[in-house]
Symmetry: C2
Subunit: 281 residues, 2 copies
C-alpha cells in the first residue's frame, strides 16, 4: 500500500484557506494512489496562537466540527484514510489533537501527550494515552511532534501491535542545532522505527509563523528506520509517497537470530528502573 505525507504551510488563523489547501493536496495524494494520507500538526489552524482565546476561537469539536466533517467527506469520496492535526475543543479544555478518519468516516482521535514550550499555555496534555486504531490496512498508532522525543511513545505503539506510527508534526529547530544538520527529529524517528520494527510516517509543516521557523524535512521510514521517502525540503510544500508492506508475515527480525522486540530483557530493566518497562501486552 502507498502512504502519503503532506508537507504544507498552514496560515495562522485562516482555517478556510488551510482546509481548502489540504483538500487539494489530499486529492493529489489520493490520485497518486495513497491509501493513507498524513497531514501536519494543527493543519487547519496554524501553530503559534497569541493566547488561549485565539486558539479557542479556532478550535472545533472532534468529531462534530466542520473540519472533521470536510476531511471525512474527501476520505469517503477517495476511499482513503487520513490522520491530521487539529485544535480540539472539549468543553473549556483544548487539546492539540490528531483526528483519525477511515474510508467510512471518523475513526477516532489522539491527543498530544507531551506538550512543547508555549503549548502549555493553550492546551491541556493528552488524556487518552496512545490508542491504536484498527484501520483497513492494519494497526496504526499516532503521535504528535514532541511525543516523538520519548522512546516510550514508540514502545507504547509497538507493544500494542501497531505496524505503522503516523506523526503529524510542526518540528522547530532545536537549541544548539548545527545549521547544516538534518533535523534531530529525523534521527529520533529513524531510531524509534529501528528499535520497534515499525513503519513511521511524519508530515511536517514549513514556513515561518509569527517569528517561529519550522523544519520541514517530512520523512517516511521503513521498519529498519531507513528513509523510504524524504526527508523533504526545509521550505517547500510537497507530498511524500512511499510503498509499505504491512501484510501479516511481512515483519522480519533485525538479524537472523535477533528481534528487537523479543530480545528485550524486562527482568533486567525491572531491577534497575522502578516498575520498569514490562513485556509487550
Amino acid at each position: 500500500m502507498l502512504v502519503a505525507c503532506i508537507q504544507m504551510e498552514p496560515v495562522i488563523g485562516d482555517k478556510q484557506a488551510n482546509v481548502a489547501r489540504s483538500l487539494s493536496l489530499i486529492a493529489d495524494a489520493a490520485e497518486r494512489g495513497a491509501e493513507l494520507v498524513v497531514l501536519p500538526e494543527l493543519a487547519n489552524t496554524g501553530y503559534v496562537f497569541r493566547d488561549k482565546q485565539e486558539a479557542t476561537a479556532l478550535s472545533e469539536l472532534v468529531p462534530g466540527g466542520e473540519t472533521t466533517a470536510t476531511w471525512s467527506d474527501i476520505a469517503r469520496r477517495c476511499r482513503i484514510s487520513i490522520v491530521a492535526g487539529i485544535a480540539e475543543r472539549d468543553g473549556d479544555v483544548l487539546f492539540n489533537s490528531a483526528v483519525v478518519i477511515g474510508p467510512d468516516g471518523y475513526a477516532g482521535r489522539f491527543r498530544k501527550v507531551h506538550l512543547w514550550g508555549d503549548e502549555k499555555k493553550v492546551f491541556d496534555a493528552g488524556d487518552l494515552g496512545f490508542p491504536v486504531f484498527q484501520m483497513p490496512f492494519g494497526k496504526m498508532a499516532v503521535a504528535i511532534c514532541y511525543d516523538g522525543w520519548f522512546p516510550e511513545t514508540y514502545r507504547a505503539a509497538a507493544f500494542q501491535g501497531a505496524d505503522i506510527l503516523c506523526i503529524p508534526t510542526n518540528w522547530v529547530p532545536m537549541p544548539g542545532q548545527p545549521a547544516d544538520r538534518q533535523a534531530m527529529a529525523n534521527t529520533l524517528v529513524m531510531a524509534g522505527a529501528h528499535s520497534n520494527n515499525m513503519f513511521i510516517a511524519c508530515a511536517d509543516r514549513v514556513g515561518v509563523e509569527r517569528g517561529q521557523p519550522f523544519e520541514g524535512q517530512s520523512l517516511i521510514v521503513d521498519r529498519r528506520g531507513w528513509p523510504i521517502a524524504g526527508p523533504a525540503s526545509r521550505e517547500r510544500e510537497e507530498i511524500l509517497i512511499a510503498e509499505i508492506d504491512i501484510r501479516p508475515g511481512s515483519r522480519r527480525g533485525v538479524g537472523a537470530d535477533n528481534d528487537v522486540l523479543q530480545d528485550r530483557r524486562p527482568d533486567v530493566y525491572a531491577g534497575i528502573v522502578p516498575c520498569s518497562i514490562a513485556q509487550p501486552g
Copy 2:
C-alpha cells in the same frame, strides 16, 4: 575534560598483540590529555570465536586476570580511567564484559545484557543490570554494542544519574542497510543521547574477522545527540578525542521550558504498557 574512543582492529586469538596495541593507543590518548579512554568490545581477544572452547581459553577473571592488571597499570601510571571490552570467565560461565578501571585501579565491570547472534552460543547474558559507576569525573554507565538497540539501556543509565554512557562495541552491518549510509548504530546513539540528555562515547573496532566485517564509525556525541568527534572511518584504526562538560549545573533542557527527562508522562505510559516505565529513581 577530554574523552577518547580508540577505534582499533583486534586479531582473533592474539591476546598478547591486542593488549600491546591497546597500550600503545591508550598511551597516545593519555598523552593528548584524555582522562577517560574507551576501547572496543572484546578488545583483547577479538570477536568471532569458533566455539565456547576457544572463547574459554581466551577468557579471564575480572578482576584477577592478566589483561585487567595490565590495563590497571597503565591507568595508574597515566592517571586516567579506562572502559574496555573483555571476555570474562566466572566459573564455567563466560560473559561479554567491559572492565571499568579508574586512576586507582579496578573499579567494576559491566556484563552485556542483550546478546547478538552467535554470541548466545558462547556467552551468558549479563546478570549485573546496568550499574552506574562513580568515577573521578562524574557518574558513568556502560553498555556494549547491541545493548544500544534498546531504549531501556539509555533510560536505565539516565534514571540512575549517569552523565556519560560508554559503549565498547563491535558494530556489524545491519541486514538491508544501504551501503552508502552511516551506520544505524550512530543514529541509535544520537537519539539515545538526545532523549536522555547524556553524553555517549562509542569505541568500535574495524576489519574483517573470519568473514565478519565491522562498521568502524566510532562516535562521541554531546547531550543533544550531535557528534562532537567522529564518526570515525569505516576501516582505519584511529583515536577520537572530544571535550565534554559534565560539571554539576552544566546540564540544560532541550528547550526554554522543556526537559526531556522531566517531561516524561509515567501516568500515561503506565495506562498503556503493563507495569510501564516509571519515574526516574
